[in-house]
Structures are given as C-alpha cells and as structure tokens.
C-alpha cells in the first residue's frame, strides 16, 4: 500500500478525524458521507449516522449511492418519515454534528448552495438549493464543513446565504435565535480553518503536509488570518488510506 495520496483523500481523512465516537452526525451526501463512513470504519465505530431520508443509525458496509440508498434503511436502527427526521430529531437539537459541503463559503462560515452571480431571478449559475442544510446549520450542536478551497469557493461574502454560519460576526447567531453552535471547523484540500473566538472569522489553524500559507492565501477570497501556532495535519495513516480506498471501491461496485 503506497503512502502517496491525493489532496481529496487528505481532506476526507482530516474530515473523518473530526467526528467523535458515539456522537450523532447528520450526514449530507458526497464528501461528508464518505468521511462519516470512514470515521465509523476507523476510530468511531459507534458514530450514529443520520440521513435526511429518515435513516437513524445507519451502518452501511459500503458507501451509499444517495442519501436514500436502500442499504441505509436496511442497516438503520430506525427508519422514520422525512417530516419526523426534521421535526423530532434535528429541530430539537438531538444531533451533535452537522456535516455539510458548500459551493461558496465566506469568512464568517456562511454557506451558499443556491445561486452564483447575477441576481436571484437571473443567476449566472443556478445551484441545487437548500435541501436540509439551513436547519442542519441552525440546529446541530456544531457544524463541520468540508469544501475544496479556491477563489471560486472561498469568498469574502456569499452571493446568497443558504445556511447561516456566524452571519456578519459575533452575536449574530444568538440574535437570530439559532440554537446550534455553528461551524466549529472547516476542512479543505489545503488545511483546516476554525472561527476566531473573538471575531468569528475563519482562521487558518492547520495546513496539510506540503501545503504553504501562501497557497492557502492565494486560494482565499479575503485577507486570510493565520493562527500563530500554525500546525501541520498528520498525513493519512496506511490504515486510513486503505479503508478509504476500500470504501470508494465498494461505491464503484455498487454502482454497476
């Protein structure tokens, strides 16, 4: 098994490491689902995976092809209706971690998955929209965002606020009455960002091996703050890589 790995693999492994064993995680499809299943297959065997399709405690032995893959229902502790998963499980704050992606992310961790450019009625790019994200971002105990870092995605202010991070800064979540803690950490293909405790601004706290601060700054659409004690992320272990690649392989098989 080679220790060579891609930046996406590093990002997925770093995201998986954010999930504590035994916590309940509301999982979006794509990268978040891959990372959550990697966590469950490595350091967090008791991670409770919750999918918006109504599957509580799903234990897939392969990567689901969609958030409604039959394997999620087959392996769940309970399958509930979609209204129930949002009303009885997400809304009251029962879910510890919300795991989200983004098309655009701004310096206060606000997420846009709706429209880019132009205006809402005549956008340059029409994106899929909100899905479960606004209420996941509002009600989960904390939010982990996984997104590739570039000038297209990391912008000073999102074109459309689909899901609220820290709004325009300190105190905004409280003013809005959002009961969850908001984005605790953002994992990218370059490193790790965390909100500054005073300003709520996303600050670079760690870099993936071989990545420089300059690269991170060049991929950020605002004047990126960097933590004094900037540390390096541990590269993927052989075990993490092996499990991740085995999971990705199951996806290809299942898709045939």
């Amino acid at each position: 098994m080679s220790r060579e790995y891609t930046s996406d693999e590093m990002m997925t492994v770093a995201a998986a490491r954010q999930l504590r064993d035994g916590s309940a995680c509301f999982v979006g499809i794509g990268l978040p689902s891959t990372a959550a299943n990697l966590a469950r297959a490595t350091h967090a065997p008791n991670l409770v995976l919750i999918y918006e399709s109504g599957c509580l405690g799903a234990k897939p032995d392969r990567l689901p092809l969609s958030i409604g893959d039959g394997i999620l229902a087959d392996t769940a502790d309970a399958v509930v209706s979609v209204p129930e998963v949002f009303n009885y499980w997400l809304q009251p704050g029962r879910i510890d971690v919300g795991f989200l992606g983004a098309a655009q992310l701004d310096r206060y961790g606000n997420i846009n998955t709706t429209v880019i450019g132009g205006d809402y009625d005549d956008p340059k790019v029409r994106l899929p929209g909100a899905g479960g994200a606004p209420e996941i971002a509002a009600s989960c105990g904390e939010v982990v965002v996984v997104v590739r870092q570039s000038l297209r995605t990391f912008i000073d202010r999102v074109d459309f606020v689909t899901s609220v991070g820290y709004g325009r800064g300190p105190g905004d979540r409280e003013r809005l009455g959002l009961r969850g803690g908001g984005p605790r950490v953002v994992i990218t293909d370059l490193g790790v960002l965390k909100p500054d405790p005073d300003t709520c601004e996303l600050t670079l706290t760690r870099l993936h091996p071989g990545v420089t601060v300059e690269q991170a700054r060049a991929a950020t659409g605002w004047d990126l703050a960097v933590a004094g004690d900037l540390a390096a992320v541990d590269p993927p272990t052989e075990h993490e890589l092996a499990v991740l690649r085995a999971l990705e392989a199951t996806k290809k098989v299942a898709a045939q």
Partner: protein, 272 residues
C-alpha cells in the same frame, strides 16, 4: 375506495393542465413511469411540487410541462446538476420556469399541514437565510405562550399527488416500505391521488417498516411494474445508478435530450 386503473387512465383522469402536481419519493420509489405518462399526454402549465426535483422533473421541465416549480433541492443526486432545470431557469428554455424555493424542513412541514387540514405549519427554520426574501410563503409567527418568534409556512394542497409504492391489494389498499419519505403526507395533503405499484396482490402481508394507505384515502391505483426505474423499489429492484450518471450527458444538450425523450418516452409503449 380507490379505483384500480391503467396508468394512462389514471393520468388522464387525475392530472389536468394547470394543476398543482406533486410527484414524491425520496430517492426511493420515485414515480418515473407516471411522470413519463404525464409527458406523453402533453400536460402543460403545471405547477410541479417536489422536495427533491431530480431526473424525472428535469424531464418534465425540459419537455415544457411546467410553468412553476416549488422545491427545496434540485439536482441529480450523487452526480451533479440538472441541466434542463438550469437551462429553464437561466435561459427560459423551452419555457420560462418560476421558482418557489424552500428548505427540506419547510417543504416537509408544508405537506404535514396539508395532510392535517391546517392552513400553516410552524418550525424553526430559514432564520437568517436569504430564502424568505424571495417568496411570500415564509413568514414569522409568535408563540402565544412564550412570545418566542418562529417561522410559519403555508400548507401544501396539491390538486393531485402521484407516488409509487411496492404493492396494493385488490381493494386498493396501498403498502410501501423502506424509505417512505414524505409520501403519506403528500397523498393525504392532495385533493386527488394516483399511486402506481409494482404489483397488485390478494393479501398485503405485513412488512416491518410498512406504511399503509387505506383504499378510502387514495383516488386511484395503477399496476406499473418497474414504475420507479431508474430509481428503485426496495424488495423489487435496485437503483440504476449508471442511468443517473448517463443522464448528465444526455441532458446537457437540448437536441440530445429531445432525441432521447422521443426514443425512450414519447414513442414508448403506454403501459397497460
């Protein structure tokens, strides 16, 4: 009591030009065959409602059946964007498409209110987002006991809801299991309902996780084996993931799309 009908009869009787139509099914049990029959029968001016408009709505939109879309997430799940949806929004092709956009929690609660005979639902949602700026269907409401301000959304009451289920019996009682999404609420919220099923059986053997819709709560039932392809019906079929992937290329170009629809939908044998 639900009438047992053919798919063509069911769509002809229950889906009318200008209707508010909900086709539900949360990645599982998506009523593709019924959507194709709506296209074959040339319905127009529809307000299409669906939490997760995906390939079937891309096809309805690309064929010009829809005037308006009420939704919370529009994409090709696990693949990417819906090109016909984007073309309609960005370039009004083949016809302009109005959007009313919500979150999943908001849409689910709108169906719940409709199923419950209430004019609105209350939730913790949308707060701080830009969504309320673009529709009058998201408002605030104050708790009469605590004074807390929450969000209200109006009930969804489709003219007709169409869903696909695993089975029905000859009396028209419908049984579905696995991921059942918001289908019960969507059917109960609608004025009329059409349920396509994999098969009609003499006796509905109870199944863990089943949702049963009594015959008297359903308007019509049509037997349409594989009626959810390329989606799946748990216990009957698996997701044709390859099709979802291929749809990206088919739908990117207007001509390729029209040609594919000609071949695979318009000229297809109408299901018995």
């Amino acid at each position: 009591m639900a009438k047992l009908v053919s798919l063509a009869e069911g769509v002809a009787d229950l889906v009318r030009d200008g209707d508010v139509v909900a086709l539900e099914g949360f990645t599982h049990l998506i009523p593709f065959a019924a959507g194709h029959e709506i296209i074959r029968q040339g319905r127009q001016d529809l307000t299409l409602v669906r939490m997760t408009p995906d390939v079937i709505y891309d096809q309805l939109i690309g064929m010009g059946c829809a005037r308006r879309l009420v939704f919370s997430w529009g994409g090709n799940p696990g693949v990417g964007s819906l090109h016909r949806f984007r073309d309609a929004v960005q370039n009004s092709w083949p016809v302009p498409l109005e959007l009313e956009e919500h979150s999943h929690a908001g849409m689910a609660n709108r169906y719940v209110a409709g199923a419950s005979g209430l004019p609105f639902a209350v939730l913790r949602g949308y707060t701080g987002t830009d969504l309320p700026r673009h529709t009058t269907n998201i408002k605030t409401i104050t708790c009469p006991f605590t004074g807390e301000v929450l969000t209200a959304v109006p009930a969804l009451r489709p003219d007709v809801t169409v869903v696909h289920a695993q089975r029905a019996d000859r009396a028209g009682n419908v049984q579905m299991w696995g991921i059942t999404g918001v289908q019960k609420e969507a059917v109960l919220a609608a004025h009329r309902s059409l349920v396509t099923v994999e098969e009609i059986v003499d006796e509905l053997e109870p199944v863990p996780g089943q949702v049963v819709l009594p015959s008297w709560a359903v308007t019509a039932v049509a037997a349409v084996p594989a009626g959810s392809h390329p989606s799946y019906a748990q216990g009957y079929s698996v997701r044709d993931n390859d099709f979802y992937v291929r749809w990206d290329a088919i739908s990117r170009d207007r001509d390729t799309f029209r040609e594919w629809m000609e071949q695979h939908v318009l000229k297809a044998e109408v299901q018995a």
